[in-house]
């Protein structure tokens, strides 16, 4: 038995070493110098020295497993596959000759009878293709991101400008009102009737102006994506506008409010405004911002850019007049100084039984496809990615409670993609949901990607 094993090992190792740099089976090139043919071998942990013929003799002599890099004898050993054409790899030595092909170059199954095919070349080219594709996506995604940042910036500017206009016109109106009051007061003696009529007319005019100002403001607030239109989707965020208040504000109902069209511009919004102003609740009053919004971000991430300063200002002065650029404020979140951001948009993902809805930085919800009420799967909590990539995971917490279980919560996993879409939603654990979400917003600068992609494929 023993001699048979020796012979087999000898034969096999001869066979392999003919095409590769001479070293014992399972040893990576980088450790070749520790295994010198014919010289006593010292375990890599230095614990003992053994004759060289005990290296790979299918008996574990070293505590650290280093004497058996090519056999399964040591419980803690590891085996190096060269995998020419693909990536080299270490596998636990328990996977040597277990009848399962682990190394694409088949070198782990040299004595098990398993019929392994060398798949390294295919894997290599497949991987290169995927890498290429990913690099492509990253590149395009990164461009898209830049573009989006630009758009968002100009949108912000535009809104600020409009805001300034509104503020100016409001100021004008107030000035006028003031002037009229003065006029009224100086004209002390007109007839009472005339005076009252006069006053009423003016007050109505002022109300109208005020209403118009409010309308403009609301338009901005509603127009989440700053495209100059208020759409059905925009309206749907305001469930208080539900005409029949039945708890379900449908798209049809929203469309009804918009006069039967999908979206309206500023002019057409006037008639819409008349329909909704009684019910409308500003996003500011509806969803109070967290007490200290910036608290959610790591300190070092508070950006130095101007835009961000603006954001901070707005955040911290919630009582700064009646005028808010709230839609703008909420729609863009600057993360880190490389301007990663997300839109305030709703992303919908259908599973075969439920519709899942993600409103970034707001909440995640689930609704049965065939009727039934919506369930809150969590409200925006915090970034929970690993230290080196904090913005790869979002956590939405404190959703509707589960019977005997926790409150529902959702983890959103962000990956770089050309589109901003929710790819899938699952519930790995009861009431703990997982959403996979792609967006250009997390795309890295392409050159930093896979620096090793084409290295190490050969030895």
């Amino acid at each position: 038995m023993m001699s048979y094993q020796y012979l087999l090992l000898l034969l096999l190792s001869l066979g392999v070493s003919a095409v590769e740099v001479q070293r014992p089976r399972g040893v990576p090139l980088s450790k070749r110098q520790f295994y010198e043919e014919g010289k006593p071998f010292t375990c890599l942990d230095g614990s003992r020295t053994i004759p060289f013929d005990r290296v790979n003799d299918d008996y574990c002599d070293c505590e650290d497993g280093s004497d058996e890099p090519g056999t399964a004898a040591c419980p803690n050993g590891s085996f190096h596959c060269t995998n020419a054409g693909f990536r080299p790899a270490f596998i636990p030595s328990s996977r040597i000759n277990d009848g399962i092909c682990d190394c694409c170059d088949t070198t782990d199954e040299y004595n098990s009878g398993a019929a392994c095919q060398n798949t390294c070349r295919e894997l290599g080219s497949k991987e290169r293709e995927i890498m290429k594709e990913m690099a492509e996506i990253a590149k395009e995604g990164f461009l898209l991101k830049q573009q989006l940042i630009q758009e968002a910036k100009s949108g912000l500017e535009e809104k600020k400008a409009k805001l300034a206009e509104v503020q100016v016109s409001k100021k004008d109106l107030e000035d006028k009102l003031e002037a009229l009051r003065t006029v009224k007061e100086t004209a002390e003696q007109p007839e009472k009737e005339a005076k009252e009529r006069h006053l009423k007319a003016w007050e109505a005019a002022i109300r109208l102006e005020k209403d118009k100002a409010k309308m403009a403001e609301v338009f901005l607030e509603l127009d989440d994506d700053a495209d100059g239109f208020v759409s059905v989707a925009d309206l749907l965020t305001h469930s208080e506008l539900d005409p029949d208040s039945d708890g379900s504000f449908t798209e049809a109902e929203a469309q009804g409010l918009l006069g039967g069209v999908d979206k309206v511009d500023t002019a057409a919004f006037e008639s819409v405004w008349n329909n909704i102003k009684e019910k409308y609740v500003s996003e500011e009053t509806r969803e109070p911002v967290p007490e200290n919004d910036s608290e959610q971000y790591p300190e070092e991430d508070i950006p130095e850019e101007e835009e961000d300063d603006d954001e901070e200002d707005e955040d911290e002065d919630p009582d700064d007049g009646d005028y808010k650029v709230s839609p703008v404020r909420i729609s863009i979140r600057f993360m880190k100084d490389d301007h990663e951001f997300l839109f305030k948009t709703k992303f919908i993902c259908l599973s075969f039984r439920y519709i899942y809805r993600l409103c970034p930085f707001n909440r995640v919800s689930q609704k049965p496809k065939y009727g039934g009420s919506e369930t809150n799967l969590g409200s925006w909590g915090k970034w929970t990615g690993p230290e080196d990539n904090v913005y790869s995971l979002m956590k939405y917490e404190h959703g509707t409670g589960c019977w005997q279980g926790p409150n529902r919560s959702t983890t959103v996993k962000l990956t770089c993609g050309k589109e901003t879409v929710v790819l899938s939603t699952s519930e790995p654990s009861r009431c703990e949901y997982l959403m996979e979400f792609t967006t250009p917003a997390v795309c890295q600068e392409p050159q930093s990607l896979y620096p090793d992609a084409h290295d190490h494929t050969e030895l």
């Binding site: 399962i100 790995p428 654990s429």
Partner: protein, 905 residues
């Protein structure tokens, strides 16, 4: 998985977390139990009519008469092979036949001749063959005493509690003069519990008998109860109840019924072990009382000093709702005799595929194929071995068993093939409740064949379970079971493959809207009421399923079927787990006595949900549970749907490493476990066994249930206390040595040893005098380790000898029945370790070899010589650790299946 419908109980449960006892009957709420328990010990109204005695070569028959109502009974008495006495009592002329349990006994037990020793008008004395054992039948009042020499081993009806409610017509029953007979009590002809009515068409039919056990203070068995190993007296509470029930969030340390029932009790003292097997499948209650129960140790001492001590005695009393009295009295005298006596009646533990002894990963539910694939990959990524991944009810298409959810499990064969490629396997659940749905093939066939259990009005019985409205196939019918088995054929069970095995849950049966969450007792199984057969239902479900798995492979492959409900004989069909436990320390602790009790009555393949089913374990509890489960026969992690994920790598690298290590210890010991199962399959001895089974004369072991033995050579004292810094283990045997398997530290027997522990500690000891084979090359599944070499652990006793066995076969087929296996006897004596063939007529070859021999308690040799069959000799290198007296022989290299010897010089 399982458990009862959440909605039903949610209301009752809000706030507290425990069983809702109100859902289950107390003895007082069960009319027959109340009636029977009201009878107090005293003079029995039964009299033996000696003139009716007939004695043939195989049996004695005799009529008994109840002097109160003149109803006659027929007593049959048999002497069975292997020191068993069978006592059967039925009505002499019942109105209609009374139920006698079929299919549980593996055959009609062979008898041995009885001979008449003496007879007079007071009774007869019969010889039970050897050892001066006799049965004395006393006539007035009737009683039976089984004697050995001058000692009474057991007495029947000595307290006069024999009661046999004869079948009667409801309205024509003549009134008797005696009080207790004339009144028609409540609950005789109908009773109700909560909103459920039981129509009781046969009226009262209970049977009851008492047994006295002189000299006995310890009784065990009658699982399933969440209670201590040693049974308690029941004088101050309810009797132990045997009635298979789906108990939602069961409570510990009480006599309430659980999922399974084995009506077997063992009685033990330092001189003798006896057993009582009460073969009755109806609802049964067991009362236990003891004349020493209330006494303190001091009180007992005082008795002794004063010489006024009466002999300690335990009295038990069995009460069943219907059927007959059919009792097997197993006379031991040793614990192992009891196991072989019981095995001769009901068979032994089935021999499972080796992989079923490895680690099982379960959860209600792995959500879809992707989930399964990711969990599978997670084990490889974290280098933790596992053999089986399990799918609970959500894998089906709308809880229609034998189907797959078309979205989540669209291509089951692809998934199973993925596991095949890793040499791993899967278990999918198949419950016995069948969705009532005319588009469901299984339902349509059962309905059209008339295989459903019927309700009292003759229609198909319907109850609520997971699928909503469900029918329950009548598994008591052999033709139904044959049909069910055929449904496991690969062409019938779509998406199934060779590596898919089965789990039968909810087979008590669980009926969410039934009385006590089970079936109405007046449902009909052909001519029999559900009342008669209830405790057999789960037994039959597993029987039919196991048969299906055997048949699908053409009789080649061993099945693996897990069941929750069980009865006597269930050991023949697979594994049992302790049902829906909870992630609490007390539930971890109770897993030991629960499995020990099952092992004592033949069911060795037992485990508890690792981690606890309900609730979420702390990390410490989870780790400790893995460490305990790794040393119990059935090793499966499982979790409720509502709990957070708990795959082993989700608790940080440190805990992943602790769990990995526990699982790896299990895998290194698989050769030993497999050998234990082979032995259990041959002998019926428990695998996980209480200490007293091996040390029957040491009273210190009689009540121990926080540690246990695996076979006779490994002693395990798992850490089951939160925050433990140490455990105290009792190491039995005053002439024994015990070696810590991790440190090789040697300890003397007959001592309480304090063992300091850390989170990585699993206190395990190998008995000096034993040889245990292990495979140290732990791979990702047990199948991957098939050809790997062995390391032999030879632990020497004070006489410097040791012995053990090594069993090897293909690990998964029935070919071992055709003598395709290797069975070696390993022995160490006079400094020679040798392997000899114990089964010369068996043939098998293995590629496995002996890579290492570790001798504990050795002294340093100067030379070690290996001699193999051909007479060749070679020197074996060795290392000696003088501080621990451990001798390691390096790579002797011989094949594990051949003769060899190693000589230390």
């Amino acid at each position: 998985m399982a458990s009862v419908l959440l909605l039903w109980l949610a209301v009752c449960l809000s706030g507290t977390w425990a069983v809702d006892k109100g859902n289950f009957k107390t003895c007082d709420q069960s009319a027959f139990c109340k009636r029977q328990r009201a009878l107090k010990p005293g003079e029995s109204p039964y009299r033996a009519l000696l003139e009716t005695m007939e004695l043939t070569n195989t049996r004695l028959t005799l009529q008994l008469i109840n002097d109160n109502n003149k109803v006659r009974l027929l007593l049959e008495l048999y002497r069975l092979q292997g020191n068993i006495t069978r006592v059967k009592i039925n009505e002499l002329k019942p109105l209609k036949p009374r139920y006698e349990v079929p299919d549980v006994l593996i055959r009609e037990p062979p008898t041995e001749p009885l001979s008449l020793l003496s007879q007079d008008e007071n009774g007869v004395v019969l010889s039970l063959g050897a050892e001066s054992q006799r049965v004395i039948v006393s006539a007035r009042p009737f009683r039976l005493d089984i004697m050995e020499g001058r000692d009474v081993l057991m007495s029947l009806n000595s307290r006069g509690l024999l009661a046999f409610e004869h079948l009667r017509m409801r309205s024509f029953e003549p009134l008797r003069s005696k009080e207790e007979e004339e009144k028609v009590e409540d609950g005789m002809w109908e009773e109700s519990f909560k909103s459920h009515a039981d129509s009781k068409p046969s009226g009262p039919s209970a049977v009851s008998l008492d047994f006295s056990l002189p000299g006995v203070e310890h009784v065990y068995g009658i699982p399933e109860h969440a209670d201590t190993l040693r049974l308690k007296t029941t004088d101050n509470g309810d009797p132990y109840r045997l009635y298979n029930l789906d108990v939602f969030q069961y409570e510990l340390y009480n006599p309430m019924a659980l999922y399974g029932a084995v009506p077997v009790m063992l009685a033990h003292n330092a001189q003798r072990t006896t057993g009582i097997f009460w073969l009755n499948a109806a609802e049964t209650w067991v009362d236990i009382s003891s004349n020493t129960a209330g006494k303190t140790v001091f009180g007992k001492m005082l008795d002794y000093v004063q010489g006024s001590s009466e002999t300690p005695q335990t009295d038990v009393r069995w009460i069943s709702e219907s059927g007959i009295i059919d009792v097997f009295i197993m006379l031991g005298p040793t614990p192992k005799d009891i196991f072989s006596q019981y095995a001769s009646l009901t068979g032994t533990q089935s021999f499972p595929p080796l992989s079923a002894l490895a680690y099982h990963q379960c959860r209600w539910n792995y959500n879809d194929q992707k989930d399964v694939q990711e969990v599978d990959a997670g084990f490889d990524e974290h280098d933790i071995p596992y053999d089986f991944i399990w799918l609970d009810i959500e894998h089906t298409d709308g809880k229609r068993y034998f189907t797959w959810d078309p979205h989540k499990f669209a291509s089951p064969k692809e998934m199973l093939q993925g596991l095949v490629e890793k040499k791993r396997k899967m278990v999918a659940i198949v419950d016995p409740h069948i969705k009532v749905d005319s588009n469901y093939k299984i339902h349509n066939e059962i309905r059209s064949k008339g295989f459903y259990i019927k309700n009292k009005d003759g229609g198909d019985y319907e109850g609520w379970c997971w699928p909503g409205s469900a029918g329950y196939p009548d598994f008591t019918r052999a033709d139904m079971r044959a049909w069910w088995a055929s449904m496991f054929a690969y062409d019938q069970y779509e998406g199934s493959m060779e590596n898919l095995y089965t789990w039968n849950d909810m087979n008590e049966p669980s009926v969410f809207n039934g009385p006590e969450v089970t079936m109405h007792k007046d449902a009909m199984h052909g001519a029999w009421e559900h009342r008669d057969v209830h405790n057999l239902y789960g037994f039959y479900v597993q029987m039919a399923t196991a048969e299906g798995l055997i048949q699908r492979s053409g009789g080649v492959e061993r099945p693996f079927v897990l069941t929750r409900a069980f009865f006597a004989g269930s050991q023949r069909y697979g594994a049992v787990w302790t049902g829906d436990n909870a992630a609490e320390w007390d539930h971890l602790k109770i897993s030991i006595p629960m499995c020990l009790s099952l092992g004592l009555v033949g069911i060795s393949f037992c485990g508890a949900d690792v981690g606890g089913f309900f609730k979420s374990p702390s990390t410490e509890l989870l780790v400790r549970w893995y460490q305990t489960g790794a040393y119990q026969p059935f090793f499966r992690a499982h979790a409720h749907l509502d709990t957070p994920r708990r795959e082993p790598w989700l608790f940080g690298p440190e805990n992943t490493a602790l769990i990995r290590e526990a699982v790896r210890q299990r895998y290194t010991l698989l050769p030993y476990w497999y050998q234990q199962f082979y032995q259990a399959h041959q002998t019926g001895e428990p695998i996980m066994r209480p200490l007293w089974v091996e040390y029957p004369q040491d009273p210190a072991t009689f009540a121990i249930d926080d540690e246990f033995l695996i076979g006779r050579d490994l002693l395990v004292h798992p850490v089951t206390e939160e925050g433990a810094r140490g455990v105290t283990a009792y190491l039995p045997g005053k002439d024994e040595l015990w070696f810590d398997v991790h440190t090789f530290q040697k300890h003397n027997g007959a001592q309480n040893l304090y063992i300091p522990v850390t989170m990585s500690s699993i206190p395990v000891f190998q008995r000096g005098g034993s040889i245990i084979p292990r495979k140290l090359r732990v791979r990702r599944s047990s199948t991957c380790m098939e050809h790997d070499p062995y390391t032999l652990y030879v632990a020497l006793n004070p006489q410097r000898t040791a012995e053990g066995e090594l069993y090897i076969d293909d690990g998964h087929t029935f070919n071992y029945e055709k003598k395709e296996f290797i069975l070696r006897k390993l022995s160490f004596t006079k400094n020679i370790l040798s392997s000899v063939n114990m089964a010369p007529d068996a043939q098998f070859s293995t590629r496995s070899w002996i890579e290492r021999i570790i001798i504990l308690g050795a002294s340093k040799p100067s030379k070690v010589t290996l001699k193999t069959a051909g007479g060749q000799e070679s020197q074996v290198e060795f290392e000696f650790d003088a501080s621990m007296s451990v001798l390691t022989l390096r790579k002797p290299g011989m094949n594990a299946g051949v003769d060899w010897s190693v000589t230390l010089q």
